[in-house]
Symmetry: C2
Amino acid sequence: MPSIIQKRRSAKPGTSSTLSDVARLAGVSESTVSRVLRQKGFSSLKVRQRVREAVEHLGYVPNRVAGTLASSGSNLVGVVIPSLSNIVFPDLLGGASLALDRAGFQPVIGVSDYDPLREETLVAAMLAWRPAGLIVAGLDHTARTKAMLRGAGVRVAELLDIDGEGIDIVVGFSNLSAGRASAELFLARGYRRIGYVGHYLGLDHRAARRLRGFTEILTHSGLALRASEVIAEPSSIGAGKEALARLLAAAPDLDAVYFSNDDMAVGGLFHCLQQGIEIPSRLAIMGYNGLDIARLAPQPLATILTPRRRVGQLGAELLFAGGPKQVVDLGFELIEGATV
Amino acid sequence: MPSIIQKRRSAKPGTSSTLSDVARLAGVSESTVSRVLRQKGFSSLKVRQRVREAVEHLGYVPNRVAGTLASSGSNLVGVVIPSLSNIVFPDLLGGASLALDRAGFQPVIGVSDYDPLREETLVAAMLAWRPAGLIVAGLDHTARTKAMLRGAGVRVAELLDIDGEGIDIVVGFSNLSAGRASAELFLARGYRRIGYVGHYLGLDHRAARRLRGFTEILTHSGLALRASEVIAEPSSIGAGKEALARLLAAAPDLDAVYFSNDDMAVGGLFHCLQQGIEIPSRLAIMGYNGLDIARLAPQPLATILTPRRRVGQLGAELLFAGGPKQVVDLGFELIEGATV
DNA sequence: CTGAAAGCGCTAACAC
DNA sequence: GTGTTAGCGCTTTCAG
């Protein structure tokens, strides 16, 4: 004879047992079961035992949808990031995931592909789940997105960038400063004929901000970018390789090139190795991110190591710490490597 | 005078307007608003107009929690992966995210850290949201996890591995074959004194399976692994570098080394470059994954390119295609590179 | 084409 | 300690 579970299943596939099934089987009321399950209030050992058995027997899994509706509080946290191809965001997400998990929250993620309008849509979609909090990348959003973020009644963490006005929690570092630091390194080493290789700046605001900091410093020294090559796609090693080739074809006399990130820079490095262009004597290069590959290579790349995982973790922690609106600068580390 | 929105906010912060607020403002019934919003059934243009205005005015965001409870069907899809540090999983997630998004679903993610028990907990947590589907990595799960997956009444996609028994949708490729292919390449090139460098095999079942395929082929040729170095941490470039150093110290006469993946192999490559160990004349090396870095380097790494993004995408698509239980082998591509 | 009413499964007062 | 009773905000028959 089929067990109770099988009966239900076969009668109505996809339907799982409910609190009242458990209550009936255990011979107690629904509220008692609810209490036992959430270990709230008190209950006798005997009752607890019986409830646990019933739960076990039925394979009961509490329905959080109902629970959330009744208690008006979900454990969902929306996370909206621009991409998953750039290692920065998986790292960020990993840190956030760890912290959220520890605090009993579950991340619902959305990938905007660097599209502000998609970000807007995704934020709205997250909000529809009445999340306990929201994590987004950066401070640049459409007016509507900002309005939603502000008016949602949930805490918001904006991560990875601190150059701008935040809504609630802001954790990251200054991309502007990172760009400046790179330019200063180039200048200190005596490079003057400087070029830039980057990826779509209209969309990657953080990369754009680094470039701004970079050129700012050049300007202070009476210099300017000699040439630049900006591609209209996501960053990648392949793209960096080709872009540097084009840049050097157009401006063969450059003595240093700043890349929008390490992916692009490693591509550039490969180009030089293959073309026999000596680094840094003939050409200096510098990236951004501090990828393992860049730091551990025989000739380590000059780069900037960012604490993105910690940003994700701290961002998620502060989201629920109950503290005031704040900005946390986690800084970055300049790595001189051997390519400047 | 404060607007309606502000009034509500100030009275009860965090509370947002509801369907009935909209209905009242538009002067229609709740069911009408519901219909208009879901464009189901018909409604006069005039009513639609009025409802839209009310929605706009109130900044109304439908509560999916309530909607899901009422209609018993969420648009949430649980995704449980072992890690985010290994690029394979962000890629997989990116593909899945794309397909889910297109079909109107939202991924809730969980990272198990390669811990089967955490995976079990995460699956249970996802199930509590009554997701429309579930995506997990691989075919190796605890008995309880399998039972939940089977009994949940939702479709399940198990991705990245096809060597084993699946529950519903299985999309991936054979890690066993990948290991075999690697061994065959080594043997074809005449290497005989072969070693292995890997990362925790008890937990990464796919890496373990590749090694099994690899040694299987060696055995067929009357050979065996000469030496191996397996670390008890996640794979990384740094770990690969150090592990190869140890392996070669213990077994200096190896002529080829198989790595558990490209991260480890790139580390090995760096070790050789720094130690002046000629590749492949003195030592051949091979990895797995087909990372950009490995393929685009001046001396491309021998590796196996896996279609992990497509796996994620197709897996997510099939989840809702309504097809029968099935296994899809997306294969892999052997890249000979220049290190064997 | 629109409204009324009955839940979805659970939590949270409030009684007992 | 435990049971009863209202909802949470929405969808969905079923009338009108």
